[in-house]
């Protein structure tokens, strides 16, 4: 029997883990007080990633065992969406090569964005892909720089065999400004932490949690997973104690291995909990931001029947340690390096051509000849040789999920790349199709002829003259 609830979940964590000790090694002279935070690591997005590309990867993780054609709406929640006016969820939709007849919504403006998007989906009756992603841009030498990290998560809400069902939810909205970032600004401005803890987290969330538990008719002690996406030490425990929630139920906020992923963190913690939850357990997700959203789930017997491709634990295990703080600063635009004249190349995108070729560019859809079966990228009116010159025989052939292998490669130190040398080469898709593409996320000397690849959606280039980023697919080590 079909029921409504969470059908699937996934996560994404960028591969680079910047060591906090490396940050402190540079900034300690100035911000000595942060020494206590200079341990563990934070996930940092590559130069070619943003909230859209990260959300897309989380969506692919969640959709691994779900028929994409069932998705009716795509939501993306973030306070760091790349476009203020171009639907970001629409880019995710195109990259997933979903049918055009789907809805889309961008949710932004608060640390509550992800739970608000999730509540909207839970309150409807459509199958909704809810994604959340954040690429954090803290000021160098700030506490936020130490506590934050980049990540994304996705859940699919809809009718089917849910692994978790909504029991109750409760929201309050109050313009409590613990921190803010005006539109167009890069960094957050924070008010005193003690005030935020006492007047914000405690005074706003404690009564709200009590109200939710009362609404659900559930005792605090019956909560098995208490998810509080707050980086401030001790706050989840303080809220749990007040609500009668057992200390053992308080979930790890992933500070040591990932960092706080802003508005995405609520969803990141939810998928982390779903990965280990057992049937019958109750999950309380409590997100804070100008009020709070509280969502209580009950895990069903279907838990374990649907698995993400990697899940948060898998993504956390896929990691490359970095102590290169300068590279991180440069990739965030916080350090101006001399990029040389080759970086002046104009990357203007013809929007007309992008529209005509959107399936190829955003969805990595190639072609397959209906007469000979030859697969190629991109599609063309006349199929690639050796073929019979038939015109118009190419049918759409999505390549984004097709594994590939390295055919040739180089490490190009001459061409401009924000992360030199630029790795690129020819790749062959299993089952046909070849293209020359950039490689990303390769460590050291792992790149060689024959290496297994998986395609990932990334930023290809920034058009700095016009403020536009161009997306395309790159080849990463298989996972």
């Amino acid at each position: 029997m079909s029921e409504f609830g969470i059908l699937s979940f996934g996560a994404y964590v960028p591969i680079t883990r910047l060591q906090r000790s490396a940050i402190h090694a540079t900034n300690g002279w100035f911000a000595g007080g942060l020494r206590g935070l200079a341990k563990g690591e934070k996930a940092v997005a590559n130069w070619d990633e943003d909230s859209v590309t990260m959300a897309l990867e989380a969506a692919r993780d969640a959709l691994d065992s779900i028929d994409r054609a069932t998705v009716q709406r795509v939501a993306i929640a973030s306070t760091t969406l790349p476009f203020a006016d171009r639907q970001n969820a629409g880019i995710v939709k195109e990259a997933l090569n979903l049918p055009d007849a789907v809805g889309a919504i961008d949710v932004a403006g608060s640390q509550r964005a992800a739970t608000s998007a999730l509540l909207a989906a839970l309150g409807g009756n459509e199958t909704t892909l809810v994604t959340a992603a954040e690429i954090t841009t803290p000021k160098p030498a700030s506490e936020r720089e130490m506590t934050s990290g980049d990540a994304a998560a996705a859940v699919i809400v809809g009718t089917g065999t849910p692994i978790a069902k909504l029991v109750a939810s409760h929201s309050v909205t109050m313009d409590f400004v613990d921190h803010f970032r005006e539109a167009g600004e890069a960094h957050d401005y924070d008010w005193e932490a003690r005030w935020v803890r006492d007047e914000g987290f405690a005074r706003i969330m404690n009564p709200a949690i009590a109200a939710l538990l009362q609404k659900a008719g559930v005792e605090g002690a019956a909560i098995d997973h208490f998810l509080v996406p707050v980086a401030v030490k001790g706050v989840p425990e303080m809220l749990a104690k007040k609500a009668g929630i057992g200390e053992g139920a308080v979930a790890d906020t992933l500070g040591a291995s990932l960092g706080h992923a802003g508005a995405a963190h609520a969803l990141v913690m939810l998928v982390a909990a779903l990965e280990k939850a057992k049937a019958g357990e109750r999950i309380l997700l409590a997100s804070f931001g100008q009020g709070c959203d509280l969502i209580l789930f009950e895990v069903t017997g279907a838990i374990g029947s649907v698995k993400p491709r990697l899940g948060l634990s898998g993504w956390l295990a896929r990691r490359i340690e970095s102590t290169n703080y300068a590279k991180y600063l440069f990739h965030r635009g916080l350090l101006q390096l001399d990029r040389g004249a080759r970086a002046e190349h104009d990357s203007k995108t013809a929007l007309t051509a992008l529209w005509r070729n959107r399936k190829a560019v955003l969805g990595l859809v190639g072609g397959r000849c209906s007469k000979t079966g030859t697969v190629q990228f991109p599609k063309s009116e006349v199929s690639v040789n050796a073929n019979d010159h038939a015109v118009g025989t190419q049918e759409d052939y999505p390549l984004a999920e097709v594994p590939a292998k390295v055919m040739t490669w180089t490490a190009d130190a001459l061409t401009y790349s924000p992360d030199p040398p630029s790795y690129y080469g020819n790749i062959d898709f299993v089952g046909g199709g070849r293209m020359m593409t950039e490689f990303t996320d390769f460590a050291g000397d792992a790149l060689d002829v024959g290496a297994d690849l998986r395609m990932m959606f990334r930023i290809k280039a920034f058009d700095e003259n016009r403020g536009f980023r161009r997306y395309f697919w790159k080849a990463a080590p298989a996972f």
Binding site: H345, T349, A350, T408, F472
Partner: protein
């Protein structure tokens, strides 16, 4: 069945500007430099030229588009001037236009000019440029060394050649060309280098180091062509004719299908086979006197020895190390220094190669003159990248050969 170009067209005169960093010259001045030498060699007046072709690849640098810059630079007498662009093979393309015009009978005398002014960019290497609106959304804006370096990884994989062996063979290619360039007063780079220098040079694009890459130069080269009959009527006795002129252009097979293995130039193999057929050459390894190939990178030259069907597939690196292509070897390759040291002003390079072959056949190559009376000389001019390119081959030789 087409009969081909063999012996229908003769070279009446050729000229070549000094290649290099010509900071003090604009492209029109370089064109004039090549033109004056060619005209003196041809012994004709400007009024006798019926049509002209200009080959230039990066026309956004310096001269701008169309045939007008050539017509203005030489103040040509209101004749048709066509600008052609076929990547780095633009020089041979201009030659092809002039040769075909004469062969068709439409023109008695035609001029081909190849020119490039690359040193107006403000940085080293080739200018970064778009390759088209749609390409830029899905293709790679890499560098030339990055594209050609990929030959090496594929060649090693296909033929089981060790990394060090291939690197040494590539280094030999460059050491040889530097030694040759040192004897060429018009060459951009006229200094010999050692194996150690080449092997220890900074890496540009793995595994190509600095000395595996050719010079980026300013320059121009010019050819004036006519029929053998007109050449004789103008008093020429030592006639050099065009024996073959072939061009093969990728149709996307290498880049998009899965049949190509990345270790060779498909187009060069096609063009070479046709060119030998057109020239009546049955055994290039014994019949060719010398060759000028598109050695934009050492590895390009190395695999081209096989694509021209001179070295056996997978054995080119051994021939290179054996000195087969050295200036005193069986078939000297780049006896003038090649792109590597003569330099590579893109649009001029194809004509520069023909210029050297022409001088060698006529015994006018000075200190670097080959002493065995060259008969057939081949030039190979490539444009694009290993996985998508245009490859042109011109064979010239003694009219009586």
């Amino acid at each position: 069945m087409a009969k081909g170009i063999r012996d229908k067209v003769a070279i009446l005169g050729m000229g070549c500007a000094k290649f290099g960093e010509r900071w003090d010259k604009d492209e029109d001045q370089l064109m004039l430099e090549a033109y004056e030498e060619a005209m003196a060699d041809a012994g004709i007046e400007a009024s006798q030229i019926d049509a002209a072709w200009l080959g230039a690849a990066f026309d956004a640098q310096n001269i701008g588009p169309s045939g007008i810059p050539l017509a203005v630079a030489l103040r040509l007498p209101d004749i048709g001037v066509t600008k052609v662009e076929n990547y780095c093979a633009s020089g041979t393309e201009s030659f092809r236009g002039a040769v075909y015009a004469v062969a068709s009978g439409a023109c008695d005398i035609a001029l081909a000019m190849g020119a490039e002014k690359l040193k107006d960019t403000g940085y080293g290497g080739l200018p970064v440029r778009t390759r088209g609106t749609t390409h830029d959304m899905v293709g790679i804006t890499g560098s030339a060394p990055g594209n050609f370096a990929q030959l090496a990884s594929a060649y090693r994989g296909v033929h089981g050649v060790g990394k060090d062996d291939l690197k040494r063979a590539m280094a030999h290619v460059s050491v040889k060309s530097h030694a040759n360039g040192a004897k060429n007063p018009k060459a951009h780079l006229q200094k010999a280098v050692t194996m150690d220098q080449v092997l220890n040079a900074p890496m540009i694009a793995e595994p190509l180091g600095l000395f595996d890459c050719c010079g980026v130069s300013d320059g121009a080269a010019c050819a004036i062509v006519t029929t053998p009959e007109i050449a004789r009527a103008l008093g020429k006795t030592d006639i050099v004719t065009v024996k073959a002129l072939q061009l093969a252009t990728s149709n996307g097979w290498e880049m998009q299908a899965q049949g190509w293995n990345g270790s060779y130039f498909h187009t060069t193999r096609v063009a070479a086979t046709k060119a030998y057929d057109e020239a009546g050459i049955t055994d290039p390894r014994s019949q060719l006197s010398l060759i000028e190939v598109h050695d934009c990178f050492s590895v390009t030259e190395l695999v081209t020895m096989e694509d021209l069907h001179i070295s056996k597939e997978g054995q080119g690196w051994r021939d290179v190390l054996d000195g087969f292509y050295d200036s005193d070897g069986s078939i000297p390759c780049q006896i003038d220094g090649g792109l590597k040291c003569f330099g590579h002003p893109i649009g001029a390079s194809g004509l520069r190669m023909i210029y050297e072959n022409y001088l060698q056949i006529l015994g006018r190559a000075g200190e670097r003159q080959r002493q065995d009376n060259p008969v057939f000389a081949l030039s190979h001019n490539l444009g694009g990248m290993p996985n998508q390119n245009v490859s042109s081959i011109a064979i010239i030789g003694r009219a009586d050969a």
